[in-house]
Amino acid sequence: MSLRTPADRYRMIRLIRGFEELALELVASGDIVGGTHPYIGQEAVAVGVCSALRPEDRLTSTHRGHGHVLAKGADPARLLAELTGREGGLNRGRGGSMHAADLSLGILGANGIVGAGAPIAVGAAWAAQLAGEPRVVVSFFGDGALNQGVLLESFNLAAMWQVPVVFVCENNGYATTLPAAVAVAGSALGRAEAFGIPAVAVDGMDTEAVREAALAAVDRARSGGGPEFLECSTYRFEGHHTMERRIKLDYRPAEEIASWRERDPLARAAALVGDTTAIDAEVAEQLYQAREFALASPAPDPAGACDHLYASGLRPRAGAVA
């Protein structure tokens, strides 16, 4: 799906929002086992950044990855089937929410380990550069990842080797319950700058602002200018994980949540479009179809539980002698 026009971008934000709301429903009904990390509120970042990418570009994502995966073009029906653990899922039901990937679209995967995607992005970008391919790799991560040693190591390698990678920090103010304000010494921008990586602060609730910054960074990286860092300030409207719908934690003041909700990226993107009725109806239909597909897709056969464990086809010994 192209993200070239403001209407395209509104449509994608609407799709991600609707997808995430549908996922909440399916978590509540038990069709999605284990829950999800909702992306609601942060859609402008995924959509703004991915609108600056070409199909051949790649990305690494996080535990909160549905938005990135959809904005890079994954089929919502197959993503939903992945979340419901079905054979028709992007990963044949093997990965689930935290590992959703579509390599054919350059999506190297959501990731269950905070910060783990950054060096992978650097490596993919390094390989593209070596091959002389004009591909850029985007690495999405949260404010929590800023404190992983591997992230800073990745900054250094990317800068030393001038690889075409764009680091996108989605600073939503919290790593689970821990406020970034008491976790990150100095500043996010300062950390990138210390490695000589140009760093830009962006309003992460504004799709168009994110897009502008991403276009500049991606173009520069593609033309050999090396890595760049974007810090997108944003907010998650839901809890860290759907678990928080059951256990109430009070680490965020109600007024804070309310004030960020007033800056909803969905409303902001809609304002650039005018009448959204037709798009809304199309997205609703698309999500209806996605749900039908996901729930009709067959559950995987337990006999295939070790399929794909090795790319070579190696079959491990079973856990019990027959």
């Binding site: 086992v33 829950g35 337990p302 539980a305 464990l309 019990a320």
Partner: protein, 322 residues
């Protein structure tokens, strides 16, 4: 009398240790909020300098805990997910564990690592479902896997009091276990197995939550006239070989049920030692996850790779054929 849950038992052990010994302190992510359960209410009671919320810098804060231990404290680290142990393997195995030998006995590192939720949890998929106790036992780090609330309490107290590093794995599947208890709970020495149920025909060694599965199977087999002894090692390293030996003297038959990977797992060690040192009347059996298992997301697939009561029943019948 009170109805004690496993998580509450861990909570009580931490609280009692903090109350009795001013050198005990806790590190971990979201422990102020008590997100995982065992630290609930502790920051409020003992303050932020003894119950320390850390940024997402596992390698950093684990190394910090090692340093604090060398300086005379008794730090306890709570890890939200078992995979974090992979990140800090260096700090635990190559630093904490080796200090005593490498300093010629000058230094000790009384550090405890607690993983409340090891093993599979529905829907948490590949990167969050390992049960990596065997790795630590292999490297010689003291390794504990309590199966019941009173064992969880008593073993965690002993782990904290121990002069060496200890890793305590609380299996996710055991966190719901409850037990009637009266009065203060005793510490339980490391390295002592527990016979949960005496028997004369077969020794079943069960690790962690699988003790409960083994007990259910043992009860059921009684009706068929089969007498199963259920032995819970509780501490995997150092292992209580004497108790195993005493049990095998009676039964001469051995089945191990262990929810971790087969090759080089603790089950392999138990079978090897039994074969080497005791007179077995039948080839021993083990029930494990497959070799090198990665748990897939879909519930059917996840379950297919974990040891089951059916497999245990089958193995008991198999060793009785000899």
């Amino acid at each position: 009398m009170s109805w004690l849950s496993y998580t509450k038992a861990l909570n009580r052990a931490l609280a009692d240790a903090l109350a009795e010994d001013p050198s005990v302190c806790l590190f971990g992510e979201d422990i102020g909020a008590g997100l995982a359960g065992p630290t609930l209410g502790l920051q409020k009671r003992f303050g932020t300098s003894r119950v320390v919320d850390t940024p997402l810098s596992e390698q950093g804060f684990t190394g910090v805990a090692v340093g604090a231990a060398l300086a005379g404290l008794r730090p306890v680290i709570e890890f939200q997910i078992p995979a974090l142990l992979f990140l800090v393997f260096e700090q635990l195995v190559n630093q904490a564990h080796k200090f005593s030998l490498m300093t010629g006995g000058q230094a000790s590192v009384p550090l405890t690592c607690l993983v409340p939720g090891s093993g599979s949890r529905d829907g948490w998929a590949g990167q969050h479902s390992d049960h990596p106790y065997g790795l630590f036992a292999h490297m010689g780090v003291k390794t504990v896997v309590p199966a019941t609330p009173t064992d969880a309490y008593g073993l965690l107290r002993s782990a904290i009091a121990d002069p060496d590093p200890v890793v305590v794995f609380a299996p996710a599947a055991a966190l719901g276990v409850r037990e009637d208890v009266t009065g203060p709970l005793p510490a339980i020495p490391l390295g002592q197995a527990r016979i949960h149920r005496p028997g004369t025909d077969v020794t079943v060694v069960a690790v962690g939550h699988l003790v409960h599965e083994a007990l259910a199977v043992a009860r059921e087999l009684t009706e068929q006239g089969i007498s199963v002894e259920v032995l819970d090692p509780r501490t995997l390293y150092p292992f209580d070989w004497d108790s195993l030996g005493a049990s095998l003297e009676k039964t001469g038959r051995l089945v191990v049920i262990d929810d971790s990977n087969r090759s080089c797992g603790i089950g392999a060690e138990i079978l090897a030692t039994a074969a080497e040192q005791y007179r077995l009347t039948a080839p021993p059996r083990r029930i494990t996850r497959p070799d090198g298992a990665v748990l897939p997301f879909a519930r059917e697939l996840d379950r297919a790779l974990q040891p089951s009561g059916d497999q245990l029943r089958h193995a008991v019948h198999a060793v009785l054929k000899h």
